[in-house]
C-alpha cells in the first residue's frame, strides 16, 4: 500500500509539472488541446493526492506501524478521531494535507472557470500548479509520509506507535489545523488570479470580481482557524491564555492582517479604480506570508512550542520564497502601466481616506508583529547577542495600534464616499462621542484606572453606536416605506446590500472580541497547594478541594479533583479539573475546568499533587469578559456568511477612465 501512496505522490508531482508546461506552451502556441490537457492534469493531480491521503489515513487508523510516520504519530489506544487527526500531526503528513487541499482548490477553480477567462486561466493554472509542484516535490522526495522503518535490509513493524502528542488530543485540535490550512492554502487562489491577470496584461478588475468571494471564504477559514487555536490554548494548555505571541501563532496572524487589509482596499479598486498596485502587493504579501508561516513552523528559524522537528526542509522553502517574491516584484514593476489609478481623490475627509488609514494600520500591525518575531534572529545576526522578544513587547506595540484600528472601524461607516462636510461629520459623530465620554466617566467613577482598558471600552461603545446607528437609520426608512416591523426591516436592509451590512456585522463581531480582549487587564490568579477540605480565596470566591479520585483507561491514567466554589458562603459550583498521564508518551497533561459566564470565567487547573502528599496544587484564575471573544467570533461568522449571500439589489459602479465617479446602477435581481 505504501508503495502505491508514494507512487501516487510522485505521479502527482509529474502531473503538476506537466500542467505548468502544457499551460504555458499551450497559451504561447495557442493550442487548445494542450490547454485542455493541462486542466485535466490538474484533476489527475487531485485524484492522485486524494489516493495518497486516503492510504495514509487508512494506515493511521488501521495501525500499520511499519510506516515511520504512523509509528511516530499514532497508536492503538487513541480514539479514531485522533488517529485521523494524526494525518496533520507531523511534518510529512501536514505537508501532504497542504498539497491535498491545494489540489482540491485547484480542481475546483479549474472546473468552475473551464469556460471563463480564457486569457487568464492558463496562467492561473500554471501558477497554482507551480505552488502545487513545490509541495509535491517536498512530499515526494524530501519528507515522505510513506517512509518505512527498516533495520538492515528488513522492514520492522514496531507493534504500536508513540501516539499523537497528548496536548493535541482535544476536539478543537481535530479541526483547528485543517481549517487554518484551508485559510493558508486558500490564499494561493487570489494570488494565482492576480499574477495571471498581470501576466496576461488584464486591464480590468476581473481577477478581483472572480476571487472576491473566494477571498472572503478563505479569510473566514483563517479567522476560524486562529480562533480555534486560541480556544484550544485557553482550554488545554492550562495557563488560561488564548494568545501567547508565539512565533507560530504570529505567523498565522500575519496573513490574516494583510488579507483583512486586502478585503478593504479591494473595495477601493472596485468602486474607484484606485489602489491597484497596492492590492497586488497585498494579495502577494498574504500569499507569501502564508508560505512564510509554514516555513517558520518547519525550519526552526525561531524557537516555538508549535514547531515541527527541525529538518533540512528550510532551504527548499527559502528558495521557493526567494524565487516567488523576486518573480512577483518583477511582474508588478513590469506591468505598472496596467495598474494605473483611474480616479482622483476629492477630499481627505472621505471614506476613501479611512480605507487608506485602515490599510496603513493593518499593515503596520502586521509589520510590527513580523518585526518582533524576527528581531531575535536579526539581532543575533547583527550583534551576535541573542535576545528575547516576548509577550510584553508585542502587547506594548500592538495595543495602541489595535485601538487605532478599532477607532477607524467606527469612523469609516460614518464618512461619505468622495467627501464629507463638517456639518455631516458633526451630525454623525456627536452622539457616539458623547456616549463614549460618558461611559469613560462612569468607568472612572466605578474605579477603573487602566488607561487602555478605558479607551478600549469607550471605543467599543463608539463603534457599536455608529454601526447600530447605520442599521437603525436604514431600517427605519424601510419600515416607513414597507410597514414592516423594525427587525424585518433590518433583515430587508441587510438583504439589499449584504456585502455592506454583513461587513458591519463582522465589525460588530470584532468590537465584541475587543471587549473580551480588554478583560485581560483585570485578570486575577492564584496558585496554592491545598489538602482535601482546605479552603483558599480568589477574588469574590472561596474554593475548597472536596476530594481527589484516581482512575485509568487504555489511553491514559488520571487523577480528578473536585473543587467546590463558594460565593458569599453559598456553594455555587463544583469544578472538576483533571490531571492525566498518557501511557504511550508518558506525558502529563491538564484538563482544566472552566465555568464560563459573560461577566467572567472561573478557570481551575489541577496542576498535580505534591510528592508523597495528598495535597493538590491548584491554579485558579478569574478571567473577566473572556467569553466575549468567543461570542464575537460567532457574530463575525454570521457577518461573513451574510457577506457571501448575494444581495437583493446589486450595485454596479461605472467609472470613467480618467477622473470622477460615475453613477451607481441599481439592478433588481429577480427573486
Amino acid at each position: 500500500m505504501e508503495n502505491v501512496g508514494a507512487l501516487a505522490i510522485i505521479l502527482a508531482f509529474c502531473f503538476s509539472v506537466y500542467a505548468i508546461l502544457a499551460s504555458v506552451v499551450g497559451k504561447w502556441k495557442a493550442n487548445p488541446f494542450l490547454l485542455l490537457s493541462a486542466e485535466r492534469a490538474v484533476y489527475c493531480n487531485f485524484l492522485l493526492l486524494t489516493a495518497a491521503s486516503g492510504i495514509l489515513v487508512y494506515a493511521l487508523i488501521a495501525g500499520d506501524f511499519r510506516l515511520a510516520y504512523v509509528a511516530q504519530h499514532s497508536n492503538r489506544s487513541m480514539p479514531t478521531a485522533y488517529k485521523f487527526a494524526s494525518w496533520w500531526g507531523g511534518q510529512a503528513g501536514s505537508l501532504l494535507l497542504w498539497a491535498w487541499l491545494l489540489s482540491l482548490y485547484s480542481a475546483i477553480i479549474t472546473f468552475q472557470n473551464r469556460r471563463k477567462f480564457r486569457d487568464m486561466m492558463p496562467w492561473t493554472v500554471a501558477i497554482l500548479m507551480f505552488v502545487q509542484g513545490f509541495f509535491n516535490l517536498l512530499i515526494a522526495f524530501i519528507a515522505s509520509p510513506f517512509d518505512i522503518l527498516v533495520q538492515g535490509r528488513g522492514i520492522i513493524d514496531v507493534g504500536d506507535g508513540q501516539g499523537l502528542n497528548p496536548l493535541l488530543q482535544y476536539w478543537t485540535m481535530v479541526i483547528h489545523p485543517p481549517i487554518l490550512y484551508l485559510g493558508y492554502v486558500g490564499f494561493t487562489v487570489p494570488f494565482a488570479f492576480a499574477m495571471a491577470s498581470l501576466i496576461s496584461k488584464q486591464k480590468g478588475e476581473e481577477w478581483i470580481h472572480t476571487t472576491r468571494r473566494w477571498s472572503v471564504v478563505t479569510w473566514f477559514f483563517q479567522s476560524t482557524g486562529i480562533l480555534l487555536g486560541a480556544g484550544w490554548a485557553y482550554a488545554v494548555l492550562g495557563w488560561g491564555g488564548y494568545w501567547g505571541w508565539d512565533p507560530v501563532e504570529n505567523a498565522s496572524l500575519l496573513p490574516w492582517l494583510t488579507s483583512t487589509a486586502f478585503l478593504h482596499s479591494v473595495i477601493m479598486q472596485e468602486k474607484k479604480g484606485m489602489m491597484k498596485i497596492w492590492n497586488m502587493v497585498l494579495v502577494a504579501s498574504t500569499f507569501f506570508l502564508c508560505i512564510f508561516g509554514t516555513t517558520l513552523t518547519r525550519t526552526g528559524l525561531v524557537s516555538s512550542v508549535h514547531a515541527f522537528a527541525q529538518s533540512p526542509i528550510g532551504v527548499y522553502f527559502f528558495t521557493f520564497l526567494g524565487l516567488g517574491i523576486a518573480g512577483t516584484i518583477y511582474l508588478i514593476l513590469d506591468r505598472l502601466e496596467y495598474l494605473k489609478t483611474e480616479t482622483k481623490l476629492e477630499s481627505v475627509v472621505s471614506r476613501e481616506s479611512t480605507f487608506l488609514f485602515n490599510n496603513l494600520i493593518l499593515v503596520a500591525s502586521c509589520f510590527s508583529i513580523l518585526w518582533g518575531t524576527l528581531f531575535p534572529v536579526i539581532s543575533e545576526a547583527v550583534t551576535g547577542e541573542k535576545i528575547s522578544v516576548d509577550a510584553p513587547f508585542f502587547n506594548k506595540v500592538n495595543v495602541p495600534i489595535g485601538l487605532s484600528l478599532l477607532f477607524l472601524t467606527g469612523v469609516g461607516p460614518l464618512i461619505a464616499w468622495r467627501r464629507s462636510s463638517v456639518e455631516s461629520l458633526k451630525r454623525a459623530f456627536f452622539w457616539p462621542t458623547v456616549g463614549a465620554l460618558v461611559l469613560t466617566l462612569v468607568l472612572i467613577f466605578a474605579g477603573i484606572r487602566h488607561f487602555y482598558a478605558l479607551m478600549s471600552f469607550a471605543l467599543c461603545l463608539f463603534v457599536t453606536w455608529t454601526i447600530l446607528g447605520e442599521f437603525y437609520k436604514g431600517s427605519v426608512a424601510i419600515r416607513a416605506k414597507t410597514g414592516q416591523n423594525l427587525l424585518a426591516a433590518a433583515v430587508e436592509l441587510t438583504h439589499r446590500n449584504t456585502r455592506r451590512y454583513g461587513g458591519y456585522l463582522v465589525h460588530i463581531g470584532i468590537v465584541i472580541m475587543f471587549i473580551g480582549f480588554t478583560g485581560k487587564a483585570f485578570d486575577k490568579d492564584t496558585t496554592v497547594e491545598v489538602g482535601v477540605g482546605e479552603k483558599f480565596r480568589l477574588g469574590g470566591y472561596e474554593m475548597q478541594v472536596r476530594e481527589l479520585v484516581d482512575g485509568d483507561n487504555e489511553n491514559y491514567s488520571w487523577r480528578h479533583a473536585k473543587v467546590d466554589v463558594f460565593q458569599n458562603g453559598k456553594l455555587v459550583r463544583t469544578m472538576e479539573p483533571e490531571r492525566r498521564g498518557y501511557k504511550a508518551s508518558r506525558q502529563p497533561t491538564s484538563e482544566v475546568d472552566i465555568w464560563r459566564r459573560l461577566n467572567e470565567d472561573v478557570y481551575v487547573n489541577f496542576a498535580g499533587s505534591g510528592v508523597g502528599s495528598n495535597k493538590a496544587v491548584i491554579q485558579a484564575y478569574i478571567f473577566p469578559l473572556v467569553s466575549w471573544i468567543w461570542v464575537g467570533f460567532w457574530v463575525l461568522l454570521i457577518g461573513t456568511v451574510v457577506c457571501l449571500i448575494p444581495s437583493k439589489v446589486k450595485l454596479q459602479y461605472a467609472r470613467t477612465q480618467v477622473v470622477g465617479v460615475a453613477s451607481k446602477q441599481y439592478v433588481e435581481v429577480p427573486k
Partner: protein, 157 residues
C-alpha cells in the same frame, strides 16, 4: 490484554511518573514586579518568569526562588535584573533593552507607521491634486435607476 490487578499496578506506576509535582513557588506581588521583566527561557512558552504557569518549569521556578532570595537579602530590582543578565545574557530580559542596536527593535514599528503616514500624505497629494473630479457621463439607460436611487436616498433622509 493485561488482567485487572496488573493494569492497576501499571496505572499507579504511570501515575507515579506523571502526576507527582513539587510544590510551586507562589508568585508574590514583589516577585511578579521583577519577574515580569525577565523572560522565561524554558523554550515552551513566550511568557515572563512571573507569568509562566508550567508547574515543573525548569527555568521560571528557580528564577522565582532566586528573585525571592535576593529580595530578602535586600537587593534592588535593577540589581536582580542585572544579575540575571550577567548570567544569561540579554536574552534574560523579556523585551529588548532600549539602547544601542536593540533600540531599533522598539522604534522600527513606529518608524514604519510614520513612513506609512508620509506615504499616505504623498498619495493624497498626488491623487488629490489636478483637475477636480467630474461627473462621468451617465448612460441613458441608467437614468431611471438614477432617479429611483435619488428617490430612495431621499426616503432614507
Amino acid at each position: 490484554m493485561l488482567k485487572f490487578p496488573n493494569r492497576l499496578v501499571l496505572a499507579l506506576a504511570l501515575a507515579a511518573i506523571c502526576l507527582p509535582q513539587s510544590s510551586t513557588k507562589l508568585v508574590t506581588p514583589e516577585i511578579r514586579r521583577v519577574g515580569d521583566k525577565l523572560a522565561c527561557k524554558c523554550g515552551a512558552c513566550n511568557n515572563t518568569v512571573a507569568t509562566c504557569s508550567m508547574l515543573e518549569c525548569h527555568y521560571s521556578l528557580p528564577a522565582r526562588e532566586k528573585i525571592d532570595e535576593m529580595q530578602k537579602a535586600g537587593s534592588a530590582d535593577q540589581t536582580i535584573i542585572d544579575t540575571f543578565v550577567k548570567e544569561s545574557g540579554l536574552s534574560a530580559l523579556a523585551t529588548p533593552p532600549a539602547e544601542g542596536f536593540f533600540l531599533l527593535g522598539w522604534l522600527m514599528p513606529f518608524i514604519a507607521i510614520s513612513l506609512g503616514l508620509v506615504s499616505v500624505a504623498i498619495w493624497f497629494k498626488r491623487f488629490a491634486k489636478g483637475t477636480p473630479a467630474t461627473q462621468a457621463p451617465v448612460p441613458e439607460i441608467d437614468r431611471r435607476y438614477l432617479d429611483r436611487m435619488n428617490k430612495e436616498l431621499q426616503d432614507l433622509e
